[in-house]
């Protein structure tokens, strides 16, 4: 019985180190940070950066019509959009760093920014 437990000593070490590694990677790569600023892009240009800690409604007149962006209680959403699909409106509120809402027909996109830039598939 004693030799059996000795065999697994090195293995336990490997398993222990891998567990620490897994926890470490979860902590490093899976932290979701609440953003503080929203960047509004309009017709290919940055329209402006706005703090999320205010109540504000913005109206952008694009090709399709009027898009209304609403900032409230640290979150932001498309309140109204002239586009056909209404995907941007239906996605609702966003507040984590790196989250993004895009309205392609009206050329409006909003992205939540924080201290660090989060990765997402759109960057690629």
């Amino acid at each position: 019985m004693k030799s059996r437990s000795k065999i697994f000593l090195g293995d336990s070490l490997i398993i222990f180190i891998s567990l620490i590694f897994i926890i470490f990677t979860f902590k490093t790569f899976w932290h979701f940070e609440t953003g503080s600023v929203v960047q509004v892009n309009f017709q290919g240009k940055t329209y402006g950066n706005f703090s999320l800690f205010q109540n504000k409604e913005m109206s952008l007149i694009g090709k399709e019509g009027e898009s209304i962006i609403e900032i409230k209680e640290g979150r932001v959403r498309f309140a109204k959009s002239p586009c056909k699909n209404q995907y941007c409106v239906q996605q609702g509120w966003i507040h984590f760093t790196g989250q993004m809402l895009i309205c392609i027909p009206n050329e409006v996109s909003i992205e939540v920014l924080g201290k660090t830039k989060a990765y997402d598939s759109l960057n690629y």
């Binding site: 090195g10 070490l13 490997i14 897994i22 990677t25 790569f29 899976w30 990765y119 690629y124």
Partner: protein
Amino acid sequence: MTRSIIKIKTTLLDHQIAQLSAIAIGLSLIESVLPSPMPGVKPGIANIITLYAMYRFNFRTAIWVSILRVFATSLILGQFLSPTFMLSLAGSLLSLLTLYFSIKLPSRFFSPIGLSVLSSFAHITGQLLLVRLWLIPHASIYYLIPIYSAAALAFGLINGWITYRLLKHHNSI
């Protein structure tokens, strides 16, 4: 006209390599039909055979079994030279390299279970490196590292344990 017969002299070890590879290919094929929650998360049960070959015979046998398995499985599934094949090859090569060094660890403390975990981590490292350098050259794949390493640990443990039992059963450990 006389028929020319090419005869290849085969050794006993060749036959053993062929047998082990056949089992490994079979396991790989079975695994390929299993549904996977996300691409790349696979049990990797063929690694049992690689480990088994290494312990039972020698490291050269393990290389043969592993590489033959990668090539044959991809040919059968029609994935030869495709990204899937490249990923599989990259994983297997790094896994073999890790085994080459880890087999030198004192066997008093390190059983196939530990080596299996190491090799499955090496496998996923090789794959993620290739994905990062070639397929998706962007940092966003770092998000996947926790999932893949958790899967590597879980499946590495299971495979290692199966290998350990197999070797115990055949009195090779």
